[in-house]
Symmetry: C2
Subunit: 315 residues, 2 copies
């Protein structure tokens, strides 16, 4: 799906694209199909429009797309109307860190076509791949039903508030109207500055540097987890992005356990925050590996490990 | 109402403040009390939340605030619940160019207090006064029930997308939650740049220059209207801001007439656009005097005058 001026709308970060999609596509009590877990910011954006969520499972390869058809039928039976769209994070999922393989992308495109459902493809981390091959975005298979979201927030700077939505031209007027009501337009000053930065060739080597730095941090975190965490824990092995998803023994509730982590000066986001129906993730947490320096990562994972062992009484 | 960190939220232009107010305060079919005419962008923002409008008249001194109580009663009778808030543009009204005198400000504050209604005070042009004395904003009389909106868009640059809302602290958490869902935060890059511009003392003399330049353009437009427009037309005499509101003989529908104006390469916004219930303004138009140089203003008003006379068959 090539981006051309007539099918791109610049947004105030890709969070605003999620908000505009809610404004245009979600009526009160409409269902959205998403994985569990899913991106917290999307839930926050769509809750404001009264969305409900029907969730499908997520495994080490991301959303279990074969469950989408059943989810569709349940939504139809429950609400009498189809879901508003399928929400998917194909690359280095937030919070799960998983990447949808090519086969699942093709299969999701087939299913969406058969069910006549729009797809919201949220891809903020796509350029931050640390191993493996880039995979084609789902929008390349079904451009006519995909709203693809990108952003400069993870490659250049979140404070610029520059994201974009690429969508079928027939939808553009509705998004433009929603955007005008929301904030008239996206900051032209930040657009000019960003264009200048890109024209000067800064972005490509900068992203290469990010890949190098973040890859080291990811590797550091994976090694520290293996070294310091007790048995019975597991975690995803992200090929890119900023996050991994860790599971602890079921006897630990990660929302309650957060207080003990904070006493060790370590923070994470409890798993249940990413379950739109708050029906899971009690034994899970999202860990960020991009922000801290490697020595801090080791120390943070070590302290979490000690607190986990104390909680499990295996010190 | 002093602005302190705990009662100010920076928004993506003050248009976003209108949108967030809609998100927090407007449920589907709620009524908003506003003047007719009123700001088009506010209508666009609140229509997205299913707002309805009960309008009160506007005369040469702005909103006829004595009508608010009757409007409140009508809303209550019609919908069974009070209106969401009163929306008022006290200074150099868009589109009408009118300014609410001190007595009306005090009176509106009294009425809102008695009816227990919030006030949305939209003040994008307050610093652009070309004659007369500054008047206290309504929020100074009733800070506990006023959401005051300001912006850098008219004094510095709209492309920065920097506005603000000052509101009672008890409301702030709701706005922060709505803001996070809408776009996470307002661009920090633009904030740093704007802060730097202000610290360097650029803003104050720049606004003084804007006042001088825009005053000349306002005076030029008022003189050109008196010289070139036919009898039966009238217009407001704004003490500041960017716009004036012109009325033409009732036989002319300004929406239809726009085509003839465009043929003369002159544009205006037809009056009905500013009537949320589309029940007036057919003989009115909004004219902008801040954008064009004085010689273009004279030429534009001259051409509109010729087209009006042709339409009225008084050539």
């Amino acid at each position: 799906m090539p981006a051309v001026p007539s099918n791109v709308l610049l947004t105030n970060g890709s969070q605003q694209a999620l908000d505009l999609i809610g404004k245009v596509f979600v009526n009160r009590e409409d269902y959205i199909i998403t994985s569990r877990p899913t991106y917290l910011g999307a839930i926050q954006a769509w809750n404001a429009y009264g969305a409900r969520y029907h969730t499908v499972n997520l495994d080490d390869e991301g959303m279990v797309v074969e469950e989408v058809e059943h989810a569709y039928e349940k939504v139809l039976a429950d609400s009498g109307r189809p879901p508003s769209f399928i929400y998917v994070l194909p690359n280095f999922h937030n919070p799960a860190g998983t990447t949808l393989p090519l086969k699942r992308r093709e299969r999701l495109a087939e299913i969406a076509t058969r069910l006549d459902l729009p797809i919201v493809e949220d891809d903020p981390y796509g350029q931050l791949r640390y191993e493996g091959e880039d995979l084609p975005p789902i929008c390349t298979f079904v451009p006519e039903r995909t709203m693809y979201l990108g952003t400069f927030s993870k490659t250049l700077a979140p404070g610029l508030r520059l994201g974009w939505i690429v969508c079928p031209e027939v939808l553009m007027q509705r998004f433009v109207t929603a955007k005008q009501g929301a904030d008239l337009h996206t900051g032209t000053f930040a657009q000019h500055v960003t264009n200048d930065i890109c024209q000067r060739g800064f972005l490509k080597p900068h992203v290469q540097r990010l890949r190098r730095v973040y890859k080291e941090r990811r590797d550091t975190m994976l090694e520290a987890l293996a070294e310091f965490w007790p048995e019975g824990c597991s975690w995803t092995q992200p090929q890119g992005g900023l996050f991994l998803w860790a599971r602890v023994p079921e006897s630990i509730n990660t929302t309650d356990f957060l207080q003990q982590a904070l006493e060790e000066k370590v923070a994470y986001v409890p798993g249940v925050s990413f379950y739109p129906n708050e029906d899971g993730g009690f034994d899970a947490m999202r860990l960020n590996f991009s922000y801290c320096a490697p020595d801090e990562i080791v120390e943070g994972i070590r302290r979490l490990g000690i607190a986990l062992k104390r909680e499990l009484r295996i010190v």
